[in-house]
Amino acid sequence: MDWTIWVEWLIKSLFVVFALLTGFAYLTLYERRALAKIQVRIGPNRAGWQGLLQPVADAVKLIFKEELTPAKADKLVFFWAPIITMVPSIVIAAVIPFGPTTTLFGRTIVFSVANINVGVLFLMAVASIAVYGIVLAGWSSNNKYAMLGGLRSSAQMISYELSLGLGFVTAILLGNSMNLHDIVDAQRNVWFAVVQPVGALIFMIVTLAEVNRAPFDMPEAEQELTAGYHSEYSGMKFALFFMAEYQKMIAISMIAATLFFGGYREFWFLKDTFLSVDAIWNIGPWQFQAWFLGPIYMLLKVVVLLFFMIWIRATWPRIRYDRLMSFGWKVLLPLSLAVVFISAVGVLVAQQFDNNWYLAIIPIFSSVAGLVAVGFVDQALRRKSYASH
């Protein structure tokens, strides 16, 4: 083994860590500014131009805050819980491709930290680890609010993880591979969000629940649980939970973009133009592939998906906990099973007749299934509405 491969790994790992850390810092600012704009406020704009130094100020403030450990807390677990929550939110980005495979400095560069053939399985496995940190934090604090918050959070995350897993299965079915590079390449002509719109929609709803975002932020419902599982945390340990939440938002938007929105690939209307990631640019004597457009497209898609998450937080109230659980178990789970089944049948029919236009039955039938689910929710809510009491 060549020593340069270690350098390559180190550079790629550092890139991912710094991208997620700065992404986290500026996502907090982006969220506060966007929420302010939606609520017709101004938001933080004092530290630096347009508030661009606000994340730095926040970090400095948190560093100089006192860290408390409650007397009755389990000291060891209390210390490690925020770290166990934060680390998977970075590691999960290891398999996400952010550019096409290309040749640079005479060697083949794969634009992801690791190009493993079970990428989707890796995503599922690492996504599950985040639950541990939250449960351990809730339990080790020895506080009733924290305990309840941790329990609620774990119950919610594992319930929605089923539909998340089935969302992954849909993408694997359509992409015919577990390798994320292959899944992105399979979306060269058409995004999976177009082939399977209901699957993509379910995936996006479920990711909101997975990162405990509004309207599924019951674990942190401040009116009833003060702050949920991180009630007893302060200073940088609290900051780690905060970091984990926002990095998970970024990572999961990257995953959604990779699985359903073409990943680093160009938008469909730019295909075969010079703005495609496969295009060869000739500038003067140099000739090179436009690989650097990959991260740019990825960033654009992630920013749009993140904006949707923020927009939802600004618009919708919190869902009641019993409704949240029954939505996950009684609506999303059967619906995602149906979506997987429809995708499987569609893929088979298209393969049988050797004509990809038959894939059109997938969006049609899954939209029907989605409408049935919406009707079911409507009926259930009508029966239980306060008007009938």
């Binding site: 860590v17 290891a94 299965v169």
Partner: protein, 118 residues
């Protein structure tokens, strides 16, 4: 390639280092003024009663058991989905049988009220 997993280990070490440095910075620069009241569990200003970790509702346990059942189902789906185009209609029929058996259990749990949250 198996060697790629070393790259993930590199990222794991780096991110753990970042987390430890963050906590370390807070410990070095943060003030340390311990007091009796500060180290009590926070219960919105009331003096806490009883243990912090107490008995929890059995619902959470039930959800955890159901989750294990259905998550294993999802894990079965993954290898099936990869080789699906080679298995064709046979693979689909197999999976439909598997899902049907599972759905029987699902509807049983539903009718028994295991999915209700009252």
């Amino acid at each position: 390639m198996l060697i790629e997993y070393i790259a993930i280990a590199v990222l794991l070490v780096l991110s753990t280092a970042v987390a430890l440095i963050a906590v370390g910075l807070g410990t070095i620069f943060g003030p340390q003024k311990k007091s009796e009241a500060k180290s009590m569990p926070y219960e919105s200003g009331m003096s806490p009663y009883g243990e912090g970790t107490r008995r929890m509702p059995v619902r959470f346990y039930l959800i955890a058991v159901l989750f294990i059942l259905f998550d294993i189902e999802v894990v079965f789906f993954l290898p099936w989905a990869v080789v699906f185009r080679q298995l064709t209609w046979f693979g689909l029929a197999e999976m439909v049988i598997f899902i049907t058996i599972l759905l029987v259990g699902y509807f049983y749990a539903w009718k028994k009220g295991a999915l209700e949250w009252e």
